[in-house]
């Protein structure tokens, strides 16, 4: 047996398609293993379906590296996050804790938004106060926002904890306090009048990060912006956990974002092990069921054969899609249900093929000699018939894996998938649903499709590389 396996690999590696296939599948496995180790198990529900976590990402932003290709320098998302204050100034009754962030803005456009997130604030007496300032490269300073931490509730005991589970995020760009502050700044510094309404609509960031021109437009002001978050604590034991300042870009990350701001690279990476899981689980279970039933059907014959074949006929003739729609309506979309359905509707094909192979083998002398020796039916089926079908079965399994992956992608694409899990099909579906094609969100639509194709192709290449073993007449002459 070992020699056969060695021969298998030798044959596989000798062909071009086999080499490419093996290289790809090793890459797929490594990436998938990495994802499994790094990502938390409830990734789908906790992270992907949780809008709060990617609130700070720009919406529908192309990948950051697209910046390299255009002369127009787009703003990249910059995130400042720290638990440690830049400076701590103790005082008599008030401790001042300073967080300073230096943002070097080099883009030809202002950030798409600015936000601040604070978390894990503890206080004992008077709630702390935070003030957000920004100092522009031209020396102007704007006090943007003042946050008073919510006070203690009637029955609460010290220490009072605020924002410990979910940090508190303020979208500064959409906050009316900020808008007023900016409006005033414009009037004072540049003698420009823009109503709060208009400022809100066009985006406060243009003004914060730009200089107004005569034509009413703003020129981007490049340079170093100093963002200062001053926190005033009124008790020695008060503390501020994390402070985060985000200047949103219009490009983000390795693969861009979708309309909810989700980082697509994270979603797409998650798709690797999911795709492999779906493919391999669906195809291996289908193969086991299909092969066993095929061998039993072909060898035992009679009523058993007839009943298995009729069952296969029934399943082949039931239309898959209406059943799926029906089921997802009742049970709700669920990845395991999808895999189960794929298995139930795929085993008949294999059974019918294996059965005809077995019928041929059964009439050969090998089976006759085994019966003469006194072998039981089970022994003959397992020990003598199955190994003869094994190369074919194995190849079928490999061929079926991409089918399963594609089927799941198609189902997700039709909206029957499990929306809590970011499979490639799901990402594709969401992209289409949000008009990705028409608006041109290429970074959202193309990658999942390409990844599906590459994964499917990997398995096909391996199956092609293995063909000479299954069909010795195709053996390559060396």
């Amino acid at each position: 047996m070992e020699e056969r396996t060695r021969n298998l690999f030798k044959e596989l590696l000798s062909s071009g398609s086999g080499k490419v296939g093996i290289a790809f599948i090793i890459a797929l496995i490594i990436i998938s293993l990495g994802v499994i180790i790094i990502y938390p198990p409830d990734f789908g529900l906790k992270y992907w379906s949780n809008p709060v976590l990617w609130a700070d990402n720009p919406r529908a932003a192309p990948p950051a590296w697209t910046n390299l290709f255009s002369s127009y320098n787009q703003a990249e998302t910059v995130i400042f996050e720290t638990n440690i204050p830049t400076e701590r100034i103790p005082g008599v009754s008030t401790t001042k804790v300073l967080y300073t962030f230096n943002l070097n803005h080099k883009a030809d456009e202002p950030p798409s938004f600015i936000s601040m997130t604070v978390g894990n604030i503890k206080y004992n007496n008077r709630p702390p106060v935070l003030i957000v300032n920004i100092e522009r490269p031209d020396g102007n300073k704007i006090e943007l926002y003042r946050l008073i931490v919510p006070g203690p509730l009637p029955n609460e005991v010290t220490p009072f904890a605020r924002f410990s589970e979910t940090p508190f995020r303020i979208q500064l760009s959409g906050n009316h306090e900020v808008v007023s502050a900016v409006s005033n700044f414009l009037k004072q510094e540049f003698d420009v009048s823009i109503s709060n309404q208009d400022l809100l609509l066009s985006g406060v960031d243009i003004a914060v990060f730009g200089t107004p021109q005569d034509d009413g437009k703003f020129d981007v002001l490049m340079g170093v912006y100093k963002i200062q978050v001053d926190a005033f604590l009124y008790n020695e034991d008060d503390s501020i956990g994390s402070v985060k300042f985000v200047a949103g870009g219009s490009v983000h990350g390795f693969m861009g974002t979708d309309t909810l701001g989700r980082d697509l690279s994270i979603g797409l990476l998650f798709g690797f092990p999911v795709a492999l899981f779906i493919g391999l689980v669906a195809s291996s279970i289908t193969t086991v069921i299909g092969t066993s039933l095929g061998i039993i059907s072909g060898y035992i014959g009679g009523k058993t054969d007839t009943s298995i074949q009729r069952a296969a006929d029934i399943f082949t003739n039931i239309p898959l899609l209406p059943i799926l729609i029906f089921l997802s309506f009742i049970v709700g979309p669920n990845l395991f249900i999808i895999i189960l359905i794929l298995i139930i509707f795929s085993w008949p094909g294999l059974t019918i093929l294996i059965r005809s192979m077995v019928l041929q083998i059964r009439s050969g002398q090998l089976v006759e000699s085994s019966i003469t020796l006194g072998a039981s039916r089970l022994r003959i089926m397992l020990r003598h018939i199955f190994p003869q079908t094994a190369p074919f079965v194995f190849a079928q399994m490999i061929f079926f894996t991409p089918s399963a992956i594609l089927a799941e992608a198609a189902l997700s694409f039709l909206g029957l998938g499990d929306p809590s899990l970011p499979t490639w099909g799901q990402i594709l579906e969401y992209g289409f649903r949000n008009g990705g094609i028409y608006v041109g969100y290429w970074w959202w639509i193309l990658p999942p499709g390409i990844l599906i194709v590459i994964t499917a192709m990997t398995f096909v290449l391996i199956a092609l590389g293995m063909e000479p073993i299954i069909n010795p007449r195709l053996k390559r002459g060396h």
Binding site: M1, E3, R4, G364, Q365, L366, E368, S369, I371, T372, L373, G374, A375, S376, R379, R383, H384, P387, Q388, A390
Partner: protein, 331 residues
């Protein structure tokens, strides 16, 4: 009256009819065996000689109960195995084995020699690992596949046809069966190696006192290795007797023609045509009355030939023939 204790196999008026589908609605009955009664004594070799369509392979299968006869009885020693279910046949299978024609397809290409020869022991739960290894070793020595260590690990595709056939023989013998059916054991082996395999089989048969049913189309090898030869034609035995008698003094017209067709190495052969049986072999699906050989028989026929089936009648001591024209010369 023969001692029944000496008898290994007995077939009593056995018939084997197959149903075959012809077209969408018609079924045709194929009379593969149409009334055969024969016995094989313990330790003896009976050769069953016939061409394709004679039913010889089917008869061999019947004696091993790989088929259930349509009519008649099959006895193994005193046991009537005609209607036994497969589960009750397991102990019979330990005592009756077969060596098949095609050494390429009758052994599992996915098992190595050791596993192939060991398998019968595992099926019948004989011995523990260590004992089984010794038995395999001995069986391989018996068939001269030495050094046994070297051959044990090889797979069938690494062996020649003759070597594979020896593996088949070792496998058949390891259970020390009392009865072996061997169907064309050397027809797929080179001419110069055939005698070697046949000699080997004969020696092993003598050594272990095995009863053998030797099925072949080659009457010349049958002459060397059988104690009796039975000539079959279209599902019936037409002549049976000791080899020297059947080969040197054949009686049935078919036997005579069959012997005339065997090539002998004589350079003058090329100048004369052989007197052979003309026409095509019979179609077992054709409905037949009368003697099976009648349509190809060139002798002067009598009325019975077309209407009744001849039965085996003793013509000389130990020599029986089924022919209306010949059963008159009793001596």
């Amino acid at each position: 009256m023969k001692e029944t204790r000496n008898r290994m196999i007995r077939l009593e008026d056995v018939k084997m009819y197959f149903q075959s589908r012809k077209g969408l609605f018609k079924t045709v009955e194929i009379k593969a065996i149409d009334g055969v009664s024969v016995e094989i004594d313990k330790g003896k070799t009976l050769a069953l000689v016939g061409e394709s369509g004679s039913g010889k392979t089917t008869l061999g299968r019947l004696t091993l109960r790989l088929l259930k006869p349509t009519a008649g009885h099959v006895f193994f020693e005193d046991l009537n195995i005609t209607d036994l279910e497969e589960v009750h046949l397991k102990s019979f299978r330990r005592r009756a084995q077969a060596i098949f024609q095609d050494p390429y397809s009758s052994i599992d290409p996915f098992m190595n020699v050791h596993q192939i020869v060991e398998e019968p022991l595992i099926i019948h739960r004989i011995g523990k690992k260590k004992e089984r290894n010794e038995m395999v070793h001995k069986a391989l020595e018996d068939v001269r596949l030495t050094p046994t260590q070297e051959f044990s690990n090889k797979y069938p595709h690494m062996l020649s046809g003759g070597q594979r056939q020896r593996v088949g023989i070792a496998r058949a013998l390891i259970l020390k069966p009392e009865y072996i059916v061997t169907d064309e054991p050397v027809s797929m082996i080179d001419a110069s190696s055939r005698a070697e395999i046949l000699h080997l089989m004969k020696n092993l048969q003598d050594k272990y006192r095995i009863t053998v049913l030797y099925i072949t189309h080659d009457i010349a090898t049958a002459k060397y290795f059988a104690d009796r030869i039975a000539v079959m034609y279209n599902g019936r035995i037409v002549e049976i007797g000791p080899p020297e008698k059947v080969v040197k003094e054949p009686i049935h017209p078919y036997t005579i023609k069959l012997l005339a067709a065997v090539p002998e190495p004589d350079p003058s052969n090329r100048f004369k045509e052989r007197g052979v049986v003309e026409g095509e072999p019979p179609n077992p699906a054709d409905i037949q009355w009368g003697c099976r050989f009648e349509s190809r028989c060139q002798l002067q026929k009598e009325d019975n030939c077309k209407s009744k089936q001849p039965t085996l009648v003793q013509i000389k001591p130990e020599h029986y023939v089924a022919c209306f024209l010949k059963d008159k010369d009793k001596s």
